[in-house]
Symmetry: C2
């Protein structure tokens, strides 16, 4: 019986490409695996899949009775609802140690790097398995996406090294130009509904028993949001009510200016002020240099929650 | 500031030698680390340390404000009490995914193999760092101990491979003889108090909100326990009360006969019967072929709790 490999709910590029790349590696190692996804493909990922001629993994949201590998997450709140009825054989991830547990020993490749595909690249090297040219191109794009073309504070030497080696395999010389092309696709926020925007890269966390959702949109120019903030706030409020969340945050990240306009909807806004040591006016605040949810937002929320 | 590296409470050989071997590796990689331990050294570990001329790591039970690496565990119930006030930089382990969590990304080397030192050996290989002869001997002994000289169902090809390579580095030809010598030391249960015996290799687990403690004693001949079972039961009952445990189990494992006499003290003995599909008479039962707590006991308890 095949083993399924998938990333978190509301998959981003790293989750989708990671499921494909890890599945390819595992199959080469003699396991029978199938990459799947828990949700819709975002525009950036669609652009990458089309560019390199790959199909999106199949949508699958239930895994009871199955064996699975998880990529790019280990939080219960980002898992399928029936994850407890699945057998987790392994996890490849670059986030904090989450609240998933297992009944049996497993395999975990977890590193404090900028992208799960950097770890998958290291696994290919460890097992001495060749990466097909087009797959290498997609993995390279995942690293450029997760590290915001190396600008994110989460980016490590291991990420740039893996990215450059993948670019070589993919025979792509100007990989930074491709990265910018990708972020231009990502910056197209006008053709989506406001709900789609808030949910495009949205993750829930369990913080001291409270549900906290944090979305992020990365664009090359923040002014695209100028006339839609009221509508974004209104969607955030709806999400907060529907999901019984304590707090919903939306990071509007400007990858050129290198900073984040944080939109806040919360039962207790004083906690958010405390977390970042800032004043919050009209439910928003500019956080200079902040580009990473997992490194510059989540740990500070964890402290106050 | 140095980072501390330590194994679980009531440390076994893998926990102690793993702290030493991982610390040596990390120091070679340019980090400043110190191996420590959470509890007393058992007779087997003492024998190994003396044989290879190493000192025991320092006893240290509080880690608030410190950075740490964990080896051979990732369960809250096996952690120092103030683990939440420490920063976990990484985990090297071969058990199930436990209930520890972190606020920040970390490094995890977790494999479903028989021994943590097998993983540390693979890390030495990955980083291309040479292992000193005496350290290799100790790591080899840890693998022989955890895999019961390759007899445990937890033993994998990776364990035997690592063990043989370590034996070569240590220049020890008859490593199985050394293994038996080690188990003879381990089998000396007459010079210890009954409480020391029950606690010698004892681990607590959180199972569905209930505290379940499972100890294990591995000997070359089960008859050494013939005249002390009443006293062992009496200590198990005391431990159950003192620690507000739901259940205390003691595995008396015969490594020659390859099976375990399981002693049971529980609020609900029917659960234990159900877990293993056996009748339990006089609070004990012989489980043929059962040698591994983590693979043949814990997963079945998890299912019923």
């Amino acid at each position: 019986m095949a083993t399924f490999i998938f990333g978190h709910t509301t998959p981003d590029t790293d989750s989708i490409i990671g499921a494909i790349s890890l599945s390819y590696l595992k199959n080469q190692l003699g396991e029978e695996t199938i990459p799947t996804r828990q949700g819709e493909i975002n525009p950036e990922t669609k652009f990458i899949l089309e560019k390199f001629g790959y199909k999106a993994p199949e949508l699958k949201t239930s895994y009871a009775g199955e064996s699975v590998y998880l990529i790019d997450f280990m939080e219960r709140s980002q898992s399928p609802k029936d994850i407890d009825e699945a057998t987790i054989l392994g996890i490849v991830d670059h986030h904090k140690l989450g609240d998933l547990t297992t009944a049996t020993p497993l395999e975990m490749w977890v590193r404090p790097v900028g992208c799960s595909n950097t770890i998958v690249k290291q696994m290919f090297d460890y097992y001495n398995i060749e990466i097909p040219k087009e797959l290498a191109g997609m993995m390279m794009c995942a690293i450029l996406s997760d590290t915001v073309i190396f600008k994110s504070p989460t980016c490590t030497k291991e990420d740039t090294k893996a990215c450059k080696e993948l670019a070589q395999i993919a025979q792509i010389e100007d990989y930074k130009a491709l990265g910018m092309e990708m972020f231009n696709v990502k910056s197209d926020v006008l053709s989506a509904t406001k709900r789609e925007l808030v949910l495009r890269d949205f993750k829930d966390f369990n913080m001291g028993g409270k549900k906290v959702g944090v979305g992020q949109l990365e664009v090359v120019d923040l002014s695209v949001f100028d006339n839609m903030k009221d509508e974004l706030f209104s969607e955030m409020k709806k999400l907060k009510e529907e999901g019984s969340r304590d707090t919903v945050l939306l990071m509007l990240t400007d990858i050129i200016q290198e900073g984040t306009q944080l939109l806040v909807v919360s039962d207790d806004i004083s906690k958010i002020k405390e977390a970042f040591g800032v004043e919050i006016e009209n439910n928003q605040v500019w956080l200079p240099k902040v580009m990473s949810r997992k490194k510059q937002i989540i740990p500070f929320l964890e402290k106050v929650f």
